[in-house]
Subunit: 133 residues, 2 copies
Amino acid sequence: MFDLDLKSRIPIYEQLVEHIKEMIFQGVIQADEKMPSVRQLASELTINPNTIQKAYRELEQLGYIYSLPGKGSYVKEVSEMKTEVHVSALKEDLISILKELLFLNVSKDEIVGIIDAVEDEIEEVNVDENRSE
Amino acid sequence: MFDLDLKSRIPIYEQLVEHIKEMIFQGVIQADEKMPSVRQLASELTINPNTIQKAYRELEQLGYIYSLPGKGSYVKEVSEMKTEVHVSALKEDLISILKELLFLNVSKDEIVGIIDAVEDEIEEVNVDENRSE
DNA sequence: CATCTGTATTAATTAGTATAATACAGTTAG
DNA sequence: CTAACTGTATTATACTAATTAATACAGATG
């Protein structure tokens, strides 16, 4: 489920944060769903619980999950997420990637094609969700 | 010229790499133009020459510049850059950012608008270049 | 009550970053 | 030719961040 690179220059807890964010965006984990416990995920991935906790703490600070001591950690509703900060930071990242792609002669049409593909992928997931309900 | 954050979690040499890449993409530094020498830039930024050298070495490995021992470091021609690897890596980054933006309910239209804006910005730089020739 | 949950703390290890001080060889202008 | 510039390499040191390890405490739950 998780493919972590222990030798990467990117810290494990950051890889976890990115991976879990992806799962939320993809709908793999849904709002108010209970996430694996710190110790459980730690033993699954044979990683120290402190590292998992650090990732969860960051996800909570970022506003993607919330934790109830004694109970567990849960995914937040999109409507409850503070999106403004994320969105503006993401736009900055987007712009610098676009600059580089256009500099390397990737056409606008091709980029728009990628947007369409990603949009379609998300659509499909939503359709699957509706089917299973 | 360079606005470095010495306290950032991102290493100085990585900030330098990103900054110089940006300057190349923007046309601020052009193909075959001589870059500031390792020692000169180090004293300008009051940073250790080794750190500058590390940034230059990475830029060279990435294929953005080339160095001639005894002469200096120069920006490569776009046509000489190995673009394939960069482009596919950039597309991966682009996709994960798009997933997040769409998840946070940013519309496709708005994203396309950003592409247009970046494209226009690059156009303007090119016009300026033609004027000054 | 036993066992799960999140959370916190302290210590030790390791790896990466940055500085410092040199050194060597190629280039070039005076 | 020489002085002053270039890139490049090496070694040692200091510092910081990441990770593991070993505990501990308090809330939730069957």
